[in-house]
Amino acid sequence: MTYIKPEFRHPELPKNKLGFTTKDYEGTLSTLCAGCGHDSISAAIAQSIFELSIPPHRIAKMSGIGCSSKTPAYFLGNSHGFNSVHGRMPSVATGAYLANRDLIYLGVSGDGDSASIGMGQFVHAVRRNLNMTYIIMNNGCYGLTKGQDSATADYGSINKSGNTNLFETIDMAGLALELGASFVARSFSGDKEQLIPLIKAAVSYPGFAFIDVISPCVTFNNNKGSTKSYDYVREHMEIVSDLDFVAPATEIKATIASGATERIVLHDGSYLAINKLEMDWDPSDRLSAMTKLHKGRIANEIVTGLLYYDAHRKNLHDILDTSLTPLNAFNTKDLCPGSGVLEELNAGLR
């Protein structure tokens, strides 16, 4: 994994361990609406990867179709990206992950992309425990097609055209929990403080790490009565876990009183520090997390933070018992049995 220092140096800009500046993690100019929550998440992603000092080319950006799914073009310009088809990012990400277990997969999707047309693939990505970070930019509507309700629109939420949603909402975090996802979190595009450590934790997590990020659509779903508007989210958001991500051999941030923290140590020695002080459930206990979520729903509280983690679940490559060498690194000699085996094989067919 060799890499060369970027050509452009911006002496004034802070550098990460690799000597890259934030510039090296930027993408092309966003074409989203001014104020769109998605842009804040893009920024948080770029910032997280910068802070983690991950070389841009070790990341593969995967997405479906939608305003949210466009964002991978707007961050990490030095990373390959794949803007596939609507709702099918999980399968493309699965194939990519199978081809090369060494890259870091960052999937970005929308609530329409994942909760409607992509529901089947989302569910099975969870089931396979792909080693990837899966972020849903959740605005409760179909932004790119002009604001129709999505399946994550809350029961009773009123959309821009004044219609009240009478369908049960699909809580993607709750769903992920029910399906046994190994890392489940929820956050808000407006809360970088919480979002960045979550993204860093997710990216460093050796399994399927899901973050449902509420991300208001300023153009179509930021109206009064919408439960996905900036105002509503700010009013109803309950920040429950105070999390910090700690890179290998760095010291734990002051933001968390160490006494109160629990550490989730990851394969590379890095760990998550969770402040359990004001948490009224156990994030390592699925049932407890499900219960917390369920009660939050009833109380109209938006429970955010790291809801659940399971440090031990096997990921897809472990389950399939594939070689530790990335499959895309093998050459003909490694893969082709060669004519040698054919004598016996032909003989068996007579």
């Binding site: 060799t2 080319h57 018992d321 003909t332 054919l342």
Partner: protein, 617 residues
């Protein structure tokens, strides 16, 4: 009954109930004939359920090498009460009917224009065996023994095979062999054997094997270096994917005992092809196999792979359509669906194997083509080729071959380059350079998408770059032609005759046989077997150098003919369709009848050709 003796030239059909383990006994029998050195072609005709419905195993013996399906059953063994009446009808006059006479059979089932051979199969099994499950199995061995004696099969071969088969579980050998003998001895004792249909040792099978196309495709994928097999179960492609897993688990284990391949059962066909696309995008040879319904579900993704130019191998083991159609019958009816799969202006190269050897060679080749051409390559096989054991040349491999990865840039290449444009036609062949994610930290990254883009892979909605890209893709289509395998011109079947025959896939044997029969009638035809779409100049020349062309296909709508007239601008009146779409492999007689009709000869109509299949299987 007047009869001409026939050596190594007859058809045997074994009628049974599925789920009763007859398959292994039947295979054993066919294999034994093969070991007699005589070309043989078994076909399994099975229902779309798991247990209890009629199933037929048909064996054609022909040392002339005519191994397509043939009309007319010479020896019928029926131990299935559900089908016995229809089975009896299907025996050719002068043929043989072998049945279980433990209980007396209804008079009307005993035709007087055939030799009726009753054997107390059930009786013998109850007499000689105790375990009811085994009795069922041995009943099959009894008729195998009986028919073997009837056609003068070398029992030594059968017994040898039995002992090979049960290596390890020796105590199973004796009862099995005993069952064979019970059948053989009984028939020898009560009837005149051998009958006028005789097997005779030959040495025609050197370098030949009996292999199913699905396994051959799978083996080809393993040799080609396929590392990601994503699939969703569907008849008749399921056995192809499991064969891939079997071979790979044998040949693809690394020093730590881990797998140098990934085999994933997807949640559906959309996911399966999505995974294959993701793998190829990321530099691994990913593939999937499916059948008609899966093809339909993969349509959107195929358009993405075409437009984003992602390599992909997709194997379509065709079955009877439309919709769920006839899931356990064969057809070549997905040709249009595959060639023009997806909305917008899209086209996909197709490859048409005819034999297991073909399946192996062409599937392996498809992986090179996919990466060189950066587009999906669809291998079009079918249920007959895929699920039946076919008489085939043995498998060979040239060890000097290396994977042709096409235009992929390394970190070094990128270092040297001025600028990299994913969709820049640098070499003028419309094939552009790609990079694999993770290659270089600051160079060569690009954004893959299904939307319009510039040569630099930058999103655009401008007409001009869109047009340039679309026109390059048209140009690429021409480049593709030059990469596609040439058609095959069978020797002795190309003498500049006025009329030609175009055929492909599993119509192979039957077309050649029909051509020979027509020659006997004084009708001389030139033959060309198409192996790929888009068609190259050789195909075009063949058509232009003949007055009229018969196009043999196993579908209703003459789909290959459509591709020929549309892509080569051929006058449709020149291409005469010869179609079979009843779900059963096409027969020489069917082709013969249609072609000879065109020459103004009287011909037995297609209807009575189908009568033979009142069994309707």
């Amino acid at each position: 009954m007047l009869r001409v003796e026939k050596i190594n030239d007859f058809v045997i059909r074994l009628a049974n109930v599925n789920g009763t383990g007859s398959a292994s006994a039947n295979n054993l029998f066919a294999k034994a004939i093969f070991r007699m050195g005589v070309p043989v072609s078994p076909k399994n005709i099975f229902p779309s359920n798991i247990q209890g419905l009629p199933t037929w195993y048909e064996i054609r013996v022909s040392d002339k090498g005519y191994l397509g399906r043939r009309a007319g059953i010479d020896i019928m063994v029926s131990i299935n009460p559900q089908s016995i009446a229809r089975d009896v009808e299907n025996i050719s006059p002068g043929g043989y009917f072998v049945y279980d006479n433990t209980k007396p059979l209804a008079k009307e089932l005993l035709r007087d224009d055939v030799t009726n051979i009753g054997i107390p199969m059930t009786g013998l099994t109850t007499e000689h065996y105790t375990d009811p499950r085994l009795r069922l199995l041995f009943k099959n061995m009894i008729y195998v023994g009986a028919v073997s004696a009837l056609i003068n099969m070398d029992m030594g071969i059968l017994e040898q095979m039995v002992s090979d088969q049960f290596k390890g579980k020796e105590k199973l050998v004796t009862p099995n062999v005993k069952a064979l003998r019970l059948g053989a001895d009984y028939i020898a004792k009560h009837y005149e054997v051998p009958c006028h249909l005789k097997l005779e040792r030959k040495d025609l099978n050197k370098d030949r094997i009996m292999f199913d196309g699905n396994s051959a495709c799978a083996l080809g994928a393993v040799f080609a270096g396929a590392t990601v097999g994503a699939w969703y179960p569907i008849t008749p492609s399921t056995s192809l994917m499991s064969a891939f897993d079997d071979y790979a688990s044998q040949y693809r284990i690394d020093q730590d005992g881990k797998k140098k391949y990934a085999f994933v059962q997807a949640e559906d066909e959309l996911a399966a092809i999505g995974m294959a696309i993701g793998a190829n995008w990321n530099g691994a040879r990913g593939f999937t196999a499916t059948s008609g319904p899966g093809i339909s579900l993969m349509t959107e993704f195929l358009g993405l792979a075409y437009f984003a130019e992602i390599p992909l191998v997709l194997i379509d083991v065709q079955r009877g359509g439309p919709s769920t159609g006839m899931p356990t019958r064969t057809q070549q009816s997905d040709i249009l669906a595959c060639a023009y799969a997806s909305h917008g202006d899209t086209k996909h190269p197709l490859i048409f194997p005819s034999t297991p050897k073909d399946c192996f060679d062409l599937t392996a080749h498809a992986f090179d083509l996919a990466e060189q051409l950066q587009t999906p390559i669809i291998v079009m096989t079918d249920l007959d080729l895929g699920m039946n054991e076919h008489y085939s040349e043995k498998i060979t491999w040239d060890d000097s071959k290396v994977m042709k990865r096409g235009k992929v840039l390394s970190a070094e290449d990128l270092e040297k380059m001025e600028k990299f444009g994913r969709y820049l036609d640098v070499d003028g062949d419309a094939l552009t350079y790609r990079t694999i994610p993770g290659t270089h930290p600051t160079k060569g990254s690009f954004f893959t998408r299904g939307t319009s883009r510039t040569e630099m892979a930058v999103y655009t909605e401008e007409s001009e770059p869109y047009l340039r890209n679309m026109d390059r893709l048209s140009k690429k289509w021409n480049t593709i032609k030059s990469y596609m395998p040439d058609p095959e011109f069978p020797v002795d079947y190309n003498h500049g005759n006025e009329a030609g025959v175009i055929y492909f896939g599993t119509s192979d044997f039957s077309t050649m046989e029909a051509a020979d029969e027509l020659k006997n009638e004084g009708i001389h035809l030139d033959l060309m077997r198409i192996k790929a779409f888009p068609f190259n100049a050789l195909v075009e020349d063949f058509i232009h150098s003949h007055e009229r062309i018969f196009v043999v296909e196993q579908n209703r709508d003459a789909q290959m003919r459509t591709l020929l007239i549309n892509e080569l601008n051929i006058d449709p009146s020149k291409l005469i369709p010869v179609l079979n779409y009843d779900g059963l492999p096409i027969t020489a007689k069917h082709i013969f009848d249609r072609i000879i009709g065109q020459f103004g000869y009287s011909s037995s109509s297609s209807i009575n050709q189908h009568d033979i299949y009142k069994t309707g299987i």
